[in-house]
Symmetry: C2
Subunit: 202 residues, 2 copies
C-alpha cells in the first residue's frame, strides 16, 4: 500500500557498477532464518568479525539493533511480526544497495514473509540461509531460558513449541549449526560469498 | 515506547574502532534539512558522487528510496510525519554504525523531530546541515510544481506556504543553496567532513 502522494522517483545518480568498484564488493542480504537459539545471531556476529578482518564492508541487523530502535513500536502479534520482517527487509535492501554485505538474524518463521522480502530486491541480492538445528538441540541450549518459559506457558505462540516454523524450501544456503561449530558455519558462509563473487578472494 | 519483551541486548562483537580502521572512515549522519526545492536531494546526490570518487563509502537516504519502501505505509499526517522522520533517523543511525557516511535529504521541518533524531545517536555522529534557500527562491524553482499546487490549495499543510518550517538554531553546517552552485555546496560539505576527521584527506 503506497500512501504517499506528491512524490516522484528519480534514479540515483551513482551508477551501481561504479559503486561496486569503489566499495570493492557486491551488496548482498544474507537472510539467516531458523529457530530461537539455533545460533543465527552468534553466527552473524562471528561472520561479521571474520569478514571485517578480510577488509569487507559488512553489517549485522539483528534483534539487538532493530528491536530497540527502528521496530521498538512493534510487538509480537501476527501483524506486528509481519511488519517487523518487512521493515528489516527494506532496511537490508538499502544496505545492499550501498554495497554492504548485510547479515540479518531473525527467526522469520513464515515463508510468505521471507518471500516478500526476497521480492523487494534484485534477484541476486537475497541469499536465504537456513540456520538449521533441531528443536531438541535449541531447547537443550536455551541460553535465554525462553524454551523453558514457553513450555511453562509463559510465552504464547513460541516458534517451534506453540507456533510453526516453516523451513525454507529452496534456500541458497543451509548451515547445520546443530552439528557444526560457529566457525565452521561462518567460514562456509564466507566461502559462499566469495565463490558467488560478492566479496573478493583473499 | 518499547513494546517488545523477551529480548536481551548484546554488545556487538566488533569493536567500533576496529570497524573504523577497516572501513577507513568514521560513520556520520549528515542530516540535510530545508524547504521543498531548496536543493537537498540534488546536493546529497552530487556530494555522494564526489565522495565515491574519493573512495569514501557513502549512501543517500531520501524520498526516493524511503517513501517507496520502508515508509510506504506512512502518509503526511502530523503523526505519520513524525514517524517518518523517526524511522529515517533509526536507519541513518544503523548506517553510521556501519561506518557509512550517510546523507539524508528530507524537509524535516520540525525542530523537535530533528532533535529526537540527534538524541538517538552518539554526539559526534549527527551533523545537522541547514540547506538554506528562501521560500521565494524555492517557489521560483518549483521543479515538481508543488508550490503552484500548494498556492492553489491542492496540497494542504505545505511547508513554507501553509505549514511552518522551523529553521535550525545551531546547525553544524549551513549551506546557502539559494546563492551557491550545487558543486560549491557539495564541496563545502565534503570539506567539513574532511576537516572534522570523518573521511580521509586526499
Amino acid at each position: 500500500m503506497q500512501k504517499s502522494t506528491n512524490i516522484t522517483w528519480h534514479g540515483a545518480i551513482v551508477d551501481p557498477a561504479e559503486r561496486q568498484q569503489v566499495v570493492g564488493q557486491k551488496g548482498a542480504v544474507v537472510w539467516l532464518t531458523g529457530l530461537s537459539a539455533s545460533g543465527k545471531s552468534t553466527l552473524a556476529r562471528r561472520a561479521e568479525q571474520l569478514l571485517l578482518e578480510r577488509g569487507a564492508i559488512v553489517y549485522v541487523l539483528d534483534g539487538d539493533n532493530i528491536r530497540f530502535g527502528l521496530n521498538k513500536d512493534l510487538g509480537f502479534s501476527p501483524a506486528d511480526r509481519t511488519e517487523n520482517i518487512r521493515r528489516i527487509g527494506e532496511v537490508a535492501k538499502l544496505f545492499a544497495d550501498a554495497c554492504v554485505v548485510t547479515l540479518t538474524a531473525f527467526i522469520s518463521p513464515y515463508r510468505a514473509d521471507r518471500d516478500a522480502v526476497r521480492a523487494l530486491m534484485p534477484a541476486d541480492t537475497f541469499i536465504e540461509c537456513y540456520v538449521s538445528a533441531s528443536v531438541e538441540t535449541c531447547e537443550a541450549r536455551d541460553p535465554k531460558g525462553l524454551y523453558k518459559k514457553a513450555r511453562a506457558g509463559q510465552i504464547p505462540e513460541f516458534t517451534g513449541i506453540s507456533a510453526p516454523y516453516e523451513e525454507p524450501l529452496t534456500p541458497e544456503l543451509v548451515l547445520e549449526t546443530g552439528s557444526q561449530t560457529v566457525d565452521e558455519s561462518a567460514l562456509a558462509l564466507i566461502k559462499f560469498l566469495e565463490e558467488k563473487g560478492y566479496i573478493k578472494a583473499v
